[in-house]
Amino acid sequence: MLVAARANGTTAVATLALGTALFLFWHTFEPAYDTAFAAAGRGPVFYPRILLAIIIALAATIVLQSLFQAPRGQASRQPADMAPDNAGWRALPALLAAIALTAGYVMAFSAAGYLLSTIVYALLLPLVFGHRNPLAIGTFALSYALATWYLFEKVFLIILPKSPWFAAF
């Protein structure tokens, strides 16, 4: 199962790379790039075109290779291989929550300021890991966010984003 999943994942990643590279290769022929003829005809998209051609060739080869190897991978399906896969599926909601939480943190970093966003993030992310000690999480979130904020803002004098509600942080 793990081999098959990896083969499917490989196919998906290579297909995505192939599609994106094909689109970008087509994009390099847009009129916007025709304005520059510097460097003896080797303008801004000369080098990227070479890279995109290489990506297309490599991605297409990997897709074909993984498609032809997929039946062999599925043939090796064993009951013992199911355990890590099941564990992986069980953790999928937590994984999606971690990605969503980090995306929210990244957005809130500028909008709500470093200190407030970090306190909230440090309160919630340990829960995603299955940590269930509210006192430890609360102490950690407050002390870690405050300590890093003080260190960077006051000691290293690196200006961190501030919230729109408080002048100091």
């Binding site: 990896r6 994942g9 490989t10 998906a12 990643v13 290579a14 790379a17 790039y33 520059a36 460097a39 003896a40 005809g41 303008g43 801004p44 000369f46 080098y47 990227p48 890279l51 995109l52 290489i54 990506i55 490599l58 991605a59 990997i62 290779q65 190897q69 564990a87 992986g88 069980r90 953790a91 999928l92 937590a94 994984l95 971690a98 990605i99 980090t102 943190y105 990244v106 970093f109 500028s110 970090t118 440090a122 992310l125 340990p126 829960l127 995603v128 890991f129 940590h131 430890a136 999480i137 950690f140 870690y144 966010a145 890093t148 960077f152 290293f156 690196i158 200006i159 961190l160 984003p161």
Partner: protein
Amino acid sequence: MDAALLGLDLVLNWQVLLAVTLGTALGVAVGVLPGLGSVVGITMVLPFTLTMGQIPAIALLLGIYCGSVYGGSITAIVINTPGTPQAAATALDGYPMAARGEADLALGWATAASLAGGLFSVMVLMLAAPQLAAFSLNFTSIEYFALGVFALICIAQVSRGSLLKGLLSGAIGMFIATIGVDQVTGDMRFTFGNFQLSAGISLIPAIVGLFALSEMFVRVSERYAPAVRTDFRIGFKIPGWHAWRPRLLLLLKSCSIGSFIGALPGTGAATSAFISYAEAKRSSPNRERIGKGEPDGIVSAESANNAVTGSALVPTLALGIPGDPVTAVMLGTLVVQGITPGPRLFTDQLDIVYAIFLILIAANLVMFAVGALGAQAFTRILRVPQGLLMTGVVVIALLGAYGVRGNPLDLIIALAAGVVGFVMRKTGFPIAPMVIGMVLSPMIENALRQSLLLTRGDFWAFFDRPIALGLFVLTAFVLLWPLLSLARARLRGTAPPLQSRPGGEE
């Protein structure tokens, strides 16, 4: 001599000594924790380096580098879980020794061998880097183009996963580096009207995402995996001279293997440790006992992996070409600090070069002291709940991503790179070639375009220059090596399966 004294003067102040001590201690701590390696350790301290002076910042980074390579051996010995891939070979003999009650002695062997390997590699760096820098003054853009392509192909070849996946990862990294303003014509490339993208995709946020964030996502996705055992007590005991004397030749050989392999692009400490271990298993008088708790196994692996630390800096400092993601991050940080590695560093800023040599020596000595005094204390870090630990790592790494340019877009880049890194790790695409591709791409592009101007567009003229021709031949050999191996194996009737190497994180 004046430059050496100036270098000593740069190092002998409390900020540098504090930075190298704290850096090494933090490096050991990061190395102890399975999953967090040298790259994550370095990205964690990036925000601190932004306001530090040049030399203290370098001291902090080099301390973490040396400390983290060594730190992995502690958990490898004590709980049979290498903290870093570099220490995987150490576990083969370290853990059996610990299992029969000799953990203190195994740690003593590992720490002393690491010190010997580290100091040996500094000597290699001191001797080889100036020579290579002087030699590279003869290089034109054609040689740099050939060298860049060779380095990238090597890294793609030796990365975990298949060669095709490594090459694709490297090519994607190279392409990502082309986003933004074209340095030659000033045109925007692939920004799709987004002004913020005109400055390009910054390396540090990409590395923070690819390594630190992806590690957090991987850990969340494996939260139902069995927990690592953390209840143990260990000591520290240095083996006597009588035990060392029969192993001096092995130590010298392992240091040489580690230093040689470390200077090659892409190979790194894990490869050198396993090659050195294999050599010890082949040639050691105690080879029958290797793998069952024999100190020869620990000495060969640990001296070789630490011998990489100095020699990996040879191409980084002399040519400005990093050999692995760790030296790539260091290269990026040096540039942020106003230091441009390359041949001119050895003519214009020789005092800084000497300061780097001295800092590496100091870092290795501190590493020994930290290992001897605090091995037990460092294993306590394993007791910190994973959720709290990873939150701390991610927050500080994202601060590093933000702090370089103060641009919120860099946080989005880090997040996107984190998701990409997670998917790549889960599907067996290596991350290292992508990072090295991002670092080398601007150099390769400039060299290619300059070379084509020099040769008036004649690509075949690249092969007229002997050094470049030699590098192209080497590149072709490295690329064709898997096919040659397969053909040879088929002739012998022992052909391996097509996807024989497992994928995974670096």
